[in-house]
Point group: C2
Chain length 357, copies 2
């Protein structure tokens, strides 16, 4: 729970400082009280080590989560819908709609769906189940449902992913809808899943899909969220960029498999959370041992110390768990990594944010 | 074990391409057969994604481990000496000498010692136990012992760390000795341990110590090794830089504590290994619940899939485990992350290597 520090300062949120954000719901000059770092111990001689130069452009300050405007609380519930997925798209849409409703009934203000929840996960199915998200309406019944559910239930939905058709290309795309039902962001999987572990798992997603061209971070009613899809989780640079853009939470719809799941699924999400000192939520389809691609399951919420806050096994379920953004500040006070980085020795460049300056 | 692929190519090792390396034991133009990536699946359109630009300068190729010259084997044994440490420096040196000898008798060609093994871990002790490593001889009995042991036993020693006095400054320093007894490298802890978790652990290493000014990677008889000390492990950028400089193995002497140990010790080393697809070895002091700083123990060897290959609890022990560098190549073939990075979206700059060009 949040403890309001006596040592309050005011930070100014500037829209111009938030680049490549699809939406900024809070007023661009709102000043809000925010508990700040109260520690006073002697840091390393940071002037010569230039910690601010460890990110280019320099990292943005953590924004005040908009939910605090009303309540001074930084807490809300997230729902992770680990859905069973069949080859019947209509059923999948109705089924996902029911799960979202159930999560909202249980208090979730943010619902996360799995990777490829409207279609079996296979290169054969992607073109068949793909939808034209930009055209909308009948051309994309899956996202039409997400928009309607978000609006009616007044929640934010990070809509897992579906195969997207755009012109002659196919993408693995995640749509984020606000509580008003509007599309706030669309992330196209940046790193395609091309791996070859002989005798275990071989999958070449790039046979059918095209990779996205941009990281996606979005301001919502429940904080600033960076989006990655499954294999994107393997690339620590993406999470580092999102952290530097001020993300509170990273959401990764993902479908790791029976080889990479036990090896890396929990490890990678815990590492992203601990290294970047933010929340990480993942959502997998439930396991179907009859399908061509068998998902690992184990949807999980991880806190900013890399601690598993809620998880599950492989069966269909809805995880409801609490997020408290005040712990992000707390952990960054305990371990002030962002002030201890050595910008004189290494620098991570966010290419698009730098170029847009 | 190594399987020699039919698909052999020859790579040329160029001394000039290896910057900031203290020693290059193999002939600078030696050509050696090396199993290379045999996979032929269609990659993402890497030309436009510029994976080679994800590191600046571009990543160096993985060097051929010198041990393969003689045997065509990429395997050797490592010894992790989880030592008990007392306030009697002479005893600590004799005790460490015996442990190194025992590890060598059990076949270890590389021995790793803990962080601060000749002194209690405290800001009060660092100035008292510090040695002038550069002066050598009687001014540094701890490193004199390491040099002698390495020479007599014909092994490589990554000598944990000791407090170092250099002029009016103190450092937390790790010395690497070759099988000839010569000092190959000295790493001064780059990221000082300044943390504050109220009621749990507060330690301000920068009260007494000065931070090092350079990453340290060194070619030895048992491969190219990147060095970090304890808190250095928290900064993923350092491991990424070492991987880009062609490290086979990262060695982290470390003394996590009873709070950060269970939270992060194994997580961070597994993450560094899996993300960078190389070996990671850590070595802690044994736990002494009577001391002012209680170490977590749990010295560990992790493989390039992030898998724990050998570990222990908190008591004094010597872990002997096998390293097989052919699995580094194998895992990079299974998951070709280095070819899938998005240099068009992010770039990690190795500042010193870039500036030395």
């Amino acid at each position: 729970m949040l403890t309001i520090s006596k040592n309050l300062t005011f930070i100014t949120l500037s829209r111009s400082s938030l680049l490549n954000l699809n939406h900024t719901p809070f007023n661009s000059t709102t000043k809000l009280p925010f508990p700040t770092k109260a520690f006073s111990f002697t840091p390393m001689a940071s002037s010569s080590y230039n910690p601010e130069q460890a990110r280019a452009p320099p990292a943005l300050p953590l924004p005040v989560p908009p939910l605090s405007k009303a309540s001074f609380l930084f807490t809300f519930k997230i729902g992770l819908c680990q859905l069973s997925v069949t080859n019947d798209k209509e059923r999948n849409i109705v089924h996902a709609r029911k799960a979202i409703e159930e999560a909202a009934e249980k208090g979730a203000k943010l619902v996360l769906l799995p990777e490829i929840w409207n279609s079996p996960y296979s290169n054969d199915c992607f073109p068949v189940y793909a939808e034209d998200i930009d055209a909308g309406g009948d051309a994309s019944p899956s996202t039409a449902m997400l928009s309607e559910a978000a609006r009616v239930l007044k929640i934010t939905i990070v809509g897992g992913s579906i195969p997207e058709r755009s012109g002659d290309k196919l993408y693995n795309a995640c749509c984020v809808f606000g509580a008003d039902g509007k599309l706030k962001a669309k992330h196209r999987k940046i790193h395609l899943f091309d791996i070859d572990i002989p005798g275990k798992i071989t999958f070449i997603e790039s046979k059918t899909l095209t990779a996205g061209q941009t990281p996606t971070i979005v301001d919502t009613d429940v904080g600033r969220i960076g989006i990655g899809i499954c294999y994107d989780l393997r690339f620590q640079e993406l999470a580092m960029i999102y952290a530097a853009r001020g993300a509170h939470l990273l959401c990764y719809p993902g479908a790791f498999n029976m080889t990479t799941g036990p090896l890396h699924w929990e490890l990678l999400q815990r590492a992203r959370a601990a290294d970047n000192q933010l929340y990480v939520a993942t959502c997998s389809p439930a396991r179907d041992t009859e399908s061509g691609y068998v998902a690992w399951g184990h949807s999980t919420l991880v806190g900013p110390f890399g601690e598993v806050l809620a998880t599950t096994e492989h069966e269909e379920t809805i995880i409801i768990a609490e997020i408290d953004y005040s712990t992000v500040e707390l952990r960054r006070t305990n371990l002030p990594l962002q002030k201890q980085r050595r910008g004189d020795l290494y620098q991570l460049v966010d290419v698009q944010r730098l170029n847009s300056k």
